[in-house]
């Protein structure tokens, strides 16, 4: 069963997620409920540390099964990636919600996952944002990575930011 193997494994990496980003994800997850919503994590990755600076929401191309599938619009990806690069940042991962389901990767998540990205999953139970967990694909299986809140000293001048797709041109 999916999830069971992943739970036993712990990734060596960690994801630093500013509180403001976490709150933004919770808002989007609740707004989108009961549908899955998805987007990208933008920030920096150095060694075992992935530092999220911004979270972005993107359009789900899978409108037929928006309740339980996402297929992120590549045009949105391109727009987010461009803006990130212009600021010396990178797409470092993907987030999506699991409405009424625990934040463990599904078989579908596993099949579509890329090594080198963090996969952040937010459970939204009955319309209320709940548990948030992050996963990385290593050797064809998911391992969970720790999520840390941003520490004031380590953030440098990068302000945690949450950017709605409405702001960007695509």
């Amino acid at each position: 069963m999916p999830g069971t193997t992943a739970e036993r494994r712990l990734a060596s990496s960690r994801l630093i997620l500013p509180a403001a980003c976490r709150e933004q994800l919770a808002r989007w997850g609740e707004e989108g409920y009961p549908h899955e919503v998805c987007g990208l994590l933008v920030g920096t990755a150095a060694g075992e540390e992935v530092r999220v600076v911004e979270v972005h929401r993107a359009r789900n191309r899978n409108t037929a099964r928006a309740r339980d599938r996402y297929d992120l619009d590549p045009a949105d990806y391109l727009a987010i990636d461009r803006r990130a690069r212009a600021r010396g940042l990178d797409v470092v991962g993907v987030w999506h919600t699991h409405p009424d389901h625990p934040p463990r990767p599904s078989i579908t998540d596993l099949e579509a996952a890329w090594e080198g990205y963090s996969y952040l999953i937010l459970a939204v139970g009955g319309g209320a944002a709940g548990e948030l967990r992050s996963w990385r694909l290593t050797s064809a299986a998911f391992a969970e990575e720790r999520i840390l809140e941003d520490d004031a000293g380590g953030a440098g001048d990068a302000q945690p930011a949450a950017i709605d797709p409405g702001e960007k041109r695509s």
Binding site: M1, P2, G3, E36, C38, L40, A45, A58, N62, R65, R67, D68, R69, Y70, D71, L72, P74, A75, Y77, L78, D81, R85, D90, V91, V92, V94, H96, H98, P99, D100, H101, P105, S106, I107, T108, D109, A112, A113, W114, E115, G116, Y117, Y119
Partner: protein
């Protein structure tokens, strides 16, 4: 040759030594990507498939445009263009996980060991995996019904709604969905095998490697496989079957054509004649360019072109008592397309002696006859040809096609009916023409069925009849091949 910059997403930078951008050369997007793949070979497989097409899990943009919208890999590049490789980002599936959790409450599960014990007590183990999964191994004695056809085929395999059914897939998820659907059909005791075939194998339970069709065969015989009476199992049976055609003439032509198309694995053809232009009015295996060549060679060329799956064995000899048993050896049935009495009686006598079904056809002008002479048919005792006609008629009463003429299409009808009977017998489906003579009148466009009974005093197949050697009838009553 223009230069372009390719932007590499983080998951693929392991193949570019960490570089986020790579400068490449090419006049089109495809050329640029192939240049990129040449510079960083690890990327090749991730971007392009074996046929050089873009893989489905990457998107490529030239500037702002997805290449799919501007001519695909042929999209032209301007000097200094920027190409973005965008990974497909997808996932989800929480709903199916949720449904699985619900199903686990609705469908009882058994361990592979429990399933094995229940199977030995009479429960039916149904493997619902895809053919390519089954090909690598399946539990011994399991029924294999692919998930997509489960509801349509289960009744045929398990008519008793009370009989316990154990459903198995690879890991125990698909089988839960399948089991729920079987419950909905009315099966009272349906259980899902937890951990599926992976668990069965890990527990060291018995496995067999069933024969399955190749992808090409599944495509070729797809319309057969869809028929419940044939299915994949029946098609494999046909592929394993051997039919001997006596004569590659008017009757043998359509019969051989359809049996080869149907995938009867081995077709033997006995004929000592060469193609004559007058044959081509009805003997559709042959061709004008092959006039003068042996009929068996001409038949082979046509049948191999239609279906290379079929093995064609040719016997360029006249069927005589000395060779009949050697030639018939190893075949499952004989399809008689001869038009002369010595051969017809020889075929009959050898089939009775060897216990082979003899699919019989004969034609005259506008009229044809079909039957199956098979005294050993398990469902009912049938007659042999001699029960009907103990001895051949005098030659003047038995004109050949060459003498009497024949409507060219008539052997098409009769030979095709013979092929139908052959396939039914090979599949053990339906009711063969054993003890029934089907008479076709093309002028009236009418079929008539006559009952023909076995003769208990038949010298060939009657009670207490003993084989006393083959009778060689006078060649005078052998008409020229028709």
């Amino acid at each position: 040759m223009s230069q372009a910059t390719v932007r590499i997403p983080a998951p693929l930078r392991g193949f570019t030594g960490g570089a986020a951008e790579v400068v490449v050369e090419g006049r089109t997007a495809g050329e640029a990507l192939r240049d990129l793949a040449a510079r960083h070979p690890g990327l090749a497989r991730r971007l392009l498939d074996d046929d050089g097409r873009l893989r489905s899990f990457v998107n490529v943009f030239v500037g702002d445009r997805n290449v799919e919208e501007i001519g695909g890999l042929e999209a032209p590049l301007a000097e200094g263009a920027t190409i973005h490789v965008v990974p497909a980002v997808a996932g989800g599936g929480a709903a199916s996980q949720r449904r699985l959790a619900e199903l686990k409450r609705e469908v009882p599960e058994v361990t592979p060991r429990e399933a094995f014990a229940l199977q030995r007590q009479g429960a039916v183990l149904v493997d619902v995996r895809e053919p390519d999964e089954v090909a690598a191994g399946s539990p011994a004695g399991a029924r294999r019904i692919v998930r997509g056809f489960l509801e349509l085929r289960i009744e045929e395999q398990v008519p008793d709604l009370e009989r316990p059914i154990l459903v198995m897939c690879a890991g125990g998820a698909r089988s839960l969905f399948a089991a729920r659907d079987l419950q909905a059909l009315g099966y009272r005791d349906v259980r899902s095998v937890a951990r599926g075939f992976a668990g069965w194998k890990a527990d060291g339970l018995p496995i067999e490697e069933p024969r399955v069709l190749s992808d090409g065969q599944r495509e070729r015989y797809g319309r057969h496989i869809l028929i419940p009476e044939v299915g994949e199992e029946g098609q494999i049976r046909l592929l394993d079957s051997k039919v001997l055609l006596v004569g590659a003439g008017g009757l043998g032509s359509p019969a051989a054509f359809y049996l080869a198309a149907a995938g009867v694995g081995t077709l033997g053809i006995v004929d000592d004649d060469v193609v004559d232009r007058s044959n081509l009015q009805r003997q559709i295996l042959h061709a004008d360019a092959r006039v003068g060549t042996p009929k068996v060679d001409s038949a082979r060329a046509t049948l191999e072109a239609l279906n290379p799956d079929v093995e064609i064995q040719t016997y360029r000899e006249r069927l005589v008592p000395e060779n009949v048993e050697r030639i018939f050896d190893g075949y499952d049935l004989v399809l008689d397309g001869s038009d002369n009495f010595p051969t017809r009686y020889l075929v009959n006598d050898a089939c009775v002696k060897l216990g082979l079904p003899n699919v019989h056809g004969s034609i005259f002008r506008f009229e044809g006859q079909v039957s199956v002479f098979w005294p050993g048919y398990p469902a009912r005792r049938g007659p042999c040809y001699r029960c009907l006609f103990a001895e051949p008629p005098p030659p003047e009463l038995a004109p050949s096609c060459a003498e009497a003429g024949v409507l060219g299409i008539l052997p098409g009808v009769i030979g095709t009916l013979e092929a139908v009977e052959a396939v039914k017998i090979l599949l053990d489906r339906g009711d063969p023409l054993v003890g029934r003579l089907l008479v076709y009148d093309a002028l009236e466009q009418r079929f008539t069925e006559l009952r023909i009974n076995p003769n208990p005093d038949c010298p060939c197949c009657g009670d207490g009849a003993t084989f006393e050697g083959y009778v060689l009838y006078d060649e005078a009553c052998a008409a020229t091949p028709g």
